[in-house]
């Protein structure tokens, strides 16, 4: 009787250990991805790390349903993006002025022109619809190809291609308008 109980307990311990080990592996391989998704929205290191950290905590709570690697990464990307958007809205309401200062500080370009250019690009990305925005950001992170982006977004490859096409088109239009607007000032 006691032996059976011991065996049962050890089975649970093994399952828990397996879960912890798998989660650690996911954390190591996906931490940069989650951080960069959050950073693409917030553009502030501390905020981005906070949001990514909370997303990992949520993922841990539901890790039994997210043990599959691709499913975990797709869920993590969507959750992080959504949480970052929420944080950004809250930040905008509270710290509009402070955020602008932080953006300028975070952008580590060498010259004022580079700063200006980076800021224009960020603004153009911000102005994209959310689905185009997340698609172009994921394609720009760690050199993801179309297949990887499609898996992360859980959409067909063709959808990713059309979204990237639309996103690039809109970015080019906005950037050319911004350049013209800046040069005529």
């Amino acid at each position: 009787m006691h032996e059976r109980a011991d065996r049962l307990a050890s089975t649970f311990v093994t399952v828990d250990e397996d879960l912890a080990r798998e989660f650690e592996a996911r954390l190591v391989e996906s931490s940069t991805l989650a951080f960069r998704v959050a950073f693409s929205v917030l553009r502030q290191r501390e905020d981005a790390e906070d949001v990514a950290q909370e997303a990992f905590a949520k993922a841990y709570r539901s890790f039994r349903q997210l043990r599959d690697r691709e499913r975990f990464r797709a869920w993590l990307v969507r959750m992080t993006f959504r949480m970052a958007i929420d944080r950004q809205r809250a930040n905008r309401r509270r710290f509009v002025r402070e955020q602008a200062i932080e953006i300028a500080r975070e952008t580590t370009g060498d010259t004022v022109v580079e700063h200006e250019r980076a800021e224009q690009l960020w603004r153009a990305i911000d102005a994209l619809p959310e689905r185009l925005r997340l698609t172009i950001v994921l394609a720009g992170i760690q050199g993801h190809d179309i297949r990887e982006v499609a898996m992360l977004l859980d959409v067909p490859d063709g959808t990713v291609k059309s979204r990237l096409f639309l996103a690039r088109k809109q970015l080019r239009e906005r950037l050319s308008w911004m350049v013209t607007d800046t040069s005529t000032r």
Binding site: L27, E49, Q53, A57, L121, I141
Partner: protein, 180 residues
Amino acid sequence: MNDPSLDREIESLLATEPSPEFVARVRARVATEPDPGRWRPSFIFATAGAVVVVIVAVIAWPSREPAPAGPKGPALQVQIAPAPVQPIHRQPATLRIVAVAASPDRPIDIDLPDVVIAENEVKAYTTLVSSIRRSRFDVAVPAAPDPNTPLEIKELPAAEPIEIEPIVRLAVLQTEGERP
């Protein structure tokens, strides 16, 4: 601006690394979470509550099973016994039915379903049967009229004429202060 240069710019914007202690912070944060495999207290309470509600509902729900037969106290029992029935004598004017019970004190036992007949109706019926057995009244049914017999219409008595005073006389009485 072409696509590759745009993509390169976006990549360079996003090429920001998290701080070195980021992963350690996430580990510490996750360590404060309950094990994903373990049930949280809120789940335990919610599940226990749901189980209690189901059990109470099952117990409180009225059973459709018939109640087990057993001693129920002074149940009303009506027995339909093969009593000797008197022949019915048809007469031209009325039809008389006389039912005579073998013994007026014998318990009445009618096995009736509970749902179909209400208790007061059963009581009324048994009272009627016992009254008939005790011959307290005759159940006489008037015979149906013969369709061949011509319908007889009696003449109505003559009504006396009603005298009504003229309206002018009433008006004169009212102006003089008298009530009619």
